[in-house]
């Protein structure tokens, strides 16, 4: 009888444990007295070898990496745990596309100028640091990599259209957006069945990010309907769509991939990491047909790249900031570039011979490293991003442009986009 009574107790204890044993382990010290630093990254930051190097130099530190395959779940996790108040790593990677959302939560992250080691002011490209500096001058993240924009194009299709096709000759076509769309008119008239660019949103976003003022002004007021430059870009792009310059293939969709294979568009806005995407989607059968040139309409631009941040939840913020500062130093970032091709945001790294010598066989052995380093230096300033900026771009303007490509009138779609932006900003 006694025996049964004990079994009842065990049963109750087990069921209770099953429901409560989901707490997060807050241990920041390992058994042997080392400080454990966790770092949460997504995709490939190229830091695996660097961690070993750092641990070898700092015998009191043990680094644990939490790696997520894709950016979206990583950031969802980041913002959810920020809300929950616990569970974040000591160092969290933040991608440029989520920067506006991140900056609106800056209060929950450490000012790296305050807790971090002394870092030279000009370590990073100016615009890279600007984007992650708050209005009152706090530095919320250390820059890791960037995605400077150049223009990719199909040499064979350009020849077919009677356009210049060598990297120097095409530069005139990509001097400004006017010349770009004018060349597009010429192209689609000569090569039927092939479009000039892949989708309106891809071109529009690049144009938008070059504007001095974007969807918000610096006092966080939404200016979508009053900023004439936005409407002008909208009109230009939708007019090009109406003429048939767009292949109407949403980026990263299956049909977009097919479009690369079949050669259904002649140009592509190309951040540095896009070369790998083009190579894998267009495949070996199109090798040598794609080329890239160090020109981009109206100067330069950036798409992608990340920062390392230290949340206030971290119990070892100081040591975490030290590690983050070390990882984002030019010497380390060049190693990450060699490991996984992440394009460095550090000015010194942009002059490193390893980077300048890097060539891309798929794009006709072009010196891609030097080319994108040139493009990175063309970017003048970071556009100010308001709280819902990323959301407006992703869930309002990109779909609105897609709806124009699906046949909606440009005016109606504009009205819907402005309303959508106001709703998202609320």
């Amino acid at each position: 009888m006694r025996h049964r009574w004990i079994s009842v107790l065990i049963c109750a204890a087990v069921s209770a444990a099953a429901t409560t044993a989901c707490g997060t382990g807050g241990a920041s010290q390992t058994a042997d007295g080392k400080t454990e630093l966790t770092i949460a990254t997504f995709n490939e930051f190229g830091y695996e070898e660097l961690f070993k190097e750092y641990e070898a130099a700092h015998s009191d530190v043990k680094i644990t990496q939490r790696k997520t395959g894709q950016g979206q779940p990583h950031h969802q996790n980041l913002f959810t745990k920020l809300g929950a108040g616990s569970g974040l790593a000591d160092i969290e990677g933040v991608e440029e596309g989520y920067l506006s959302q991140f900056m609106s939560k800056a209060g929950q992250f450490n000012d790296l100028k305050e807790i971090g080691p002394k870092v030279e002011d000009d370590r990073w490209l100016k615009w890279k640091t600007e984007a992650v500096t708050t209005k009152d001058g706090k530095l919320m993240g250390y820059g890791t990599d960037i995605g400077p924009l150049a223009m990719c194009y199909r040499k064979d299709l350009f020849e077919k259209a009677g356009l210049p096709s060598d990297p120097e000759g095409v530069k005139a076509l990509f001097a400004s957006w006017d010349s770009y769309f004018a060349a597009g008119d010429q192209f689609i008239a000569k090569v039927p069945g092939v479009a000039w660019f892949d989708s309106a949103a891809q071109v529009y976003n690049a144009m938008h990010n070059q504007l001095e003022t974007g969807y918000y002004d610096k006092s966080d007021k939404l200016v979508v309907d009053t900023n004439a430059a936005i409407k002008a870009n909208w009109t230009t792009v939708t007019a090009a769509v109406a003429k048939g310059q767009s292949a109407r293939l949403g980026a990263f969709s299956n049909e977009w991939n097919t479009g690369f294979k079949l050669g259904k568009f002649a140009t592509k806005t190309c951040p540095s990491w896009m070369l790998g995407v083009v190579e894998s989607q267009a495949g070996p059968e199109n090798k040598g047909l794609w080329a890239v040139t160090d020109a981009f309409p109206n100067g330069g631009g950036n798409w992608g790249g990340s920062y390392l941040t230290v949340p206030k939840q971290s119990k070892n913020a100081k040591k975490a900031a030290e590690l983050a500062a070390w990882l984002t130093a030019p010497e380390q970032q060049i190693k990450a570039f060699k490991a996984k091709g992440t394009f460095p945001s550090q000015t010194k790294a942009l002059d490193a011979p390893e980077l300048l010598e890097q060539a891309n066989a798929y794009f006709g052995d072009v010196k891609a490293g030097a080319l994108f380093a040139t493009q990175a230096k063309k970017i003048k300033a970071a556009q100010y991003k308001g709280p819902a900026d990323g959301q407006i771009q992703e869930t309002v303007f990109s779909p609105a442009l897609l709806s124009v490509e699906q046949g909606k009138s440009a005016d109606e779609a504009w009205k819907a986009a402005v309303e959508g932006a106001q709703k998202a900003a609320k």
Binding site: A18, T80, G83, G250, F252, E255, E394, P399, G407
Partner: protein, 319 residues
């Protein structure tokens, strides 16, 4: 002799009533309490991962609760009143019902027909029966990606076939009805066989002598089906209708993965954004947990209402 014994006994019992020995007290408690403790794990888990989130969602829906916010303000029923004036919500509700009707209605009819066919004397019967379950076994995500490819607006196989038949291609992404048909076809592909097997099991439970009696009375195969099989399937059909209602109104994965760009808008103009997809978008793209919770509760009520309505309608229809 006997009297003394019984007296002694009575005396013991009287003594025991106010203070039974510890041993008995424990075993009494054991008999009374332990059955509850044995079933407790289920209820504890249900409370922790079922009931608590349900109630907490209701609580969250009363706040302007943004993910990561420090101190969300209480707004009462404002989320709900905003929701009822939100065109996007009504659009999502319409899409959900449209996809639900396009999937569930034909699916159950076809499932009954397939079950009737499988119930006939076939060669390799088990092979056929397992065969209809195959789509259900395949991964939903893989299935959705393949269907997304088939229904590609520009390079999809379905449009190629339509072209061969002389029908002009349909933009499965842009057209509201087209996208609903595409998504409903994914649901039907996956669930028809599953439901057919459930109905088949019920068919086999129908006593043979009823059919024999009908046969003697000269009833045709069709008459036997409509007058015997269908009425006797009633409880099973109600079950299938209710479960597919609950599943159909919460449809998420198919429309989510049907969006080529991987977003949660359900098409450029929300042509196929369902309620759950809108909930997901509000919570994890708009970071508005309060609003998403309000959507969740309204959907919960709608599902209960429709399931109840279905229950009564099916009960009457198959009488």
């Amino acid at each position: 002799m006997t009297a003394t014994l019984s007296k002694v006994d009575r005396g013991r019992a009287q003594e025991a009533r106010p203070r039974p020995p510890r041993r008995y007290r424990m075993s009494n408690l054991d008999a009374k309490v332990s059955p509850y403790l044995f079933v407790a794990p289920f209820f504890v888990l249900f409370i922790a991962i079922g009931l608590f989130p349900l109630l907490y969602t209701a609580y969250v829906s009363l706040f302007d609760w943004e993910i990561g916010a420090d101190d969300p303000p209480f707004v009462g029923f404002e989320n709900y009143s905003t929701l009822f004036q939100d065109d996007q919500f009504w659009n999502a509700l319409f899409n959900t019902f449209s996809i639900f009707l396009l999937s569930s209605a034909p699916q159950i009819v076809v499932a009954v027909v397939i079950a009737a066919l499988l119930n006939a004397n076939l060669r390799a019967r088990t092979g056929w029966r397992m065969g209809v379950l195959l789509p259900y076994v395949a991964s939903l995500v893989a299935l959705t990606i393949i269907f997304g490819n088939l229904f590609g607006p520009q390079y999809g196989l379905v449009n190629d076939v339509l072209g061969l038949l002389g029908i002009s291609p349909i933009d499965w992404q842009a057209s509201t009805f087209g996208s609903h048909v595409a998504i409903a076809s994914m649901v039907n592909w996956r669930w028809t066989g599953y439901n057919a097997l459930i109905i088949l099991a019920a068919m086999q439970a129908i006593p043979k002598d009823v059919y024999e009696a009908a046969l003697v009375d000269g009833a045709s195969a069709l008459r036997r089906f409509f007058s015997i099989t269908l009425p006797l399937l009633k409880p099973t059909l109600i079950f299938v209708v209710v479960t597919s209602t609950i599943g159909g109104l919460q449809i998420f994965t198919e429309p989510k993965l049907f969006e080529p760009s991987g977003g949660s808008g359900g098409g450029a103009e929300h042509q196929y954004q369902t309620v759950v997809l809108y909930l997901y978008q509000s919570a994890f793209q708009g970071y508005d947990l309060g609003y998403a919770s309000a959507i969740a509760w309204v959907l919960f009520m709608v599902v209960i209402a429709v399931a109840a309505l279905n229950f009564f309608l099916t009960r009457r229809a198959v009488k």
